[in-house]
């Protein structure tokens, strides 16, 4: 009996020590993570200008956003457009890069590093660099395309300066950092057993057959991972538009997160901004949940049985 008591005491002590060691993280998650999240939920039901005390207005912020705020819908559409095009395109470019770099060519390490390099460049520096490149009058991209413009007798594209092309310009610019997902694809490609390719070779399969029948199916877990992360990140697109276009021209790159930021910082409407944040959270949750339901259908999880 005494021995059992002493073991229980020891267990309690060990638990306590465990909690103490975990306390920096626990405090962090409760106060720096959990509290602001719950506070923003409360604030989303209030009118709060960040100076006066918040006043409870129920669902009014949500009602206004859905029924009487044209810019809310505009920014939501811009964001959907970005997600719908940038995510599949990013996946495609990442996969193509990974396939190209999954070869035993001399200096492959250097190529892989070069393609990954944009991911370690500051997004601000990257955006300013691309502003130069895409500059309609003296940017190098239009200089290169000049013969094509002349051939088809067309006006040079105004890229981020025209409402019709600004969103696409930002999407193209974002592809520069596709090397981030490429690294994940490459890692998974390295895990594919060589025996599968050897068997395919014996069966006389060509490169395309091996790619589409072996490589890509076995890469689906990492493709799916990048897809989910891309959706979550895509709905939060903000920085490139903030720096490059200021949300313009004609609010064509005024993304949801940008509008949320402005609601808080320029309109001093923290309650409305919080409501927008929660709408975004629910939206991303729904889309992610839907995407996760596809998991079993599109992701190869190994042979059953």
């Amino acid at each position: 009996m005494a021995e059992k008591k002493s073991i229980n005491k020891l267990k309690k002590q060990e638990n306590l020590i465990g909690y103490i060691f975990a306390s920096p993280w626990l405090i962090g998650i409760i106060f720096l993570g959990g509290f602001p999240i719950l506070a923003s939920l409360y604030i989303s039901f209030t009118n709060y200008d960040m100076v006066s005390a918040p006043t409870w207005i129920g669902l009014k912020n949500y009602t206004i956003l859905f029924t009487n705020d044209s810019i809310f819908w505009k920014s939501l559409w811009n964001t959907f457009y970005h997600v719908m095009i940038a995510i599949p395109l990013g996946l495609l470019v990442g996969i193509i890069l990974a396939l190209l770099l999954n070869n035993k060519v001399k200096g492959m390490g250097v190529y892989r590093t070069l393609f990954y390099l944009p991911n370690v460049v500051s997004i601000v520096a990257m955006t300013l660099l691309w502003m130069w490149l895409f500059q309609p009058s003296f940017g190098i991209i239009n200089e290169i395309l000049d013969p094509i413009y002349k051939l088809f007798d067309m006006e040079p594209l105004r890229w981020y300066q025209a409402a019709s092309s600004a969103k696409m310009t930002l999407i193209l610019m974002g592809l520069w950092s596709a090397g981030g997902s490429m690294v994940i694809y490459l890692a998974q490609m390295q895990d594919i057993p060589a025996i599968l390719y050897e068997s395919a070779d014996i069966d006389g399969a060509n490169w395309f057959q091996k790619t589409f029948k072996i490589t890509l199916p076995l890469m689906t877990p990492s493709i799916f991972f990048n897809f989910i992360m891309g959706i979550i990140g895509g709905f939060q697109v903000f920085t490139i538009a903030y720096i490059m276009t200021g949300g313009g021209p004609a609010r064509s790159t005024y993304y949801y997160a940008y509008y949320l930021f402005d609601k808080m910082m320029t309109d001093n409407a923290m309650g409305m901004a919080s409501a927008m944040a929660w709408i975004l959270l629910v939206l991303v949750l729904i889309i992610t949940a839907f995407a996760l339901r596809l998991n079993k259908r599109v992701v190869y999880l190994g042979e059953e049985g």
């Binding site: 044209s70 500059q135 309609p136 910082m265 309109d267």
Partner: protein
Amino acid sequence: MKKLVLMFVLSFSVLAFASCGGTDDGKTEIVFWHMSPVGSESYSGMKTIINDFNDSQELYKVKGVGFSFWDYWDKANVAIASRDAPNIGLSTIDDVVSRAQSGVLYNISELMEVDTSGENIIDLTEFRQSQMDFSTYEGDLFAMPFTATTRALYVNLDVFAELGLDESDIPTTWSELETIAKMIDVEDDGDIQRLGFDPTYGDATYHGWLWQTGLDFFDEDLNPTLNTQGHIDVLNWIVDFNTDFTRSQLTSFGEANQLLGLNPFAAERVGMIVGNDGLYQTIINSGADFNYTVAPIPVPDDDGIRVSWGSGFSLEMYDNGNDSEAEKAGSYAFYKYLLSEDVQLQLGEVNGWIMAHESAMDTYVVDRPIMQKLLIEVDYAIDKVYVPYAPSWHGNDWQPYYTQILDGDLTPEQGLLQARNNYIQKQENFDSVN
């Protein structure tokens, strides 16, 4: 085990209390936020001003904290919102009333009334009434003007001389401005090499041009107007000013300057530009050696009003709800010190700003001819109205429509109508929750 828990609690307590304020010599600490961070040109000057005050004090000690202009606003807004603001700080004068309404500012009028110290008494006659009106709420001052800004027409006299013109030819009306601007324009193979003037460049704004015709964005009750022929006419004048060039050419010309970090006037790429007093410092810092002057911004030919958009920083004392009487008294002592003539003169020298104290500035500009002219323009400057439902009415809310109109994607009529509808929607939404 107990020792371990005790050590943890003690360590946590030490860390928690380490951030609490207090000076070693028992003086009450006053925190002052300014815009002269470590490493900035004005840092040592600001430090001297603060140290001079501290040396004269037995009870208080001011701790100056400098942030760059770009960082300052977010930090100040968050600090005020969380009732953790410094004792004294700078802010924008046009929205003092909103902070006064929220109860985060001390009533300066009340402090002045009970001030029997006899030191650095604030002389209200030294400050412009137009600025003090912006910091008045329910008849009392809740802040004082700290700096003043204005806009004026900067003119490159070397370019004028090249064309056989001199200072007497500086345009005073819109039509004269257009005539002389065209003389200055230089185009080469489709690229603008030099631009005479553009009403969208520099610090020129649509509302600034509107004011010269007696119009504004909002009526006295802050309802959006923007739907009169006068509004359309002013926009048409802006759009048609440089029809010799495409908007793409003008945008590229402006962007090239921006990407190169050039001020188009300081780089002598624009003959005339509307700039604020900060441009004077920019020209000095850029090492430009051309002759230039400043003049009033040209006004409409018929019944034009001499007015420009000017603003300024307000000096505010923040009420965090937990300040001791000593803190409040010390803050006010330093507050008055910053508004005294000598210190305002020093601050002008340190920052290159036009300070709000008129006599101090009269002394400051004696050997600065350009500043003398800018100071005259301050008297013609008015600030933009603060619109609670659209605090950025001239920025985020207006710019998308303005850009589309300039680009020719919307006619002035369409753009103004859409902008007005947006303001109305914002007003409805604001009113429904306030």
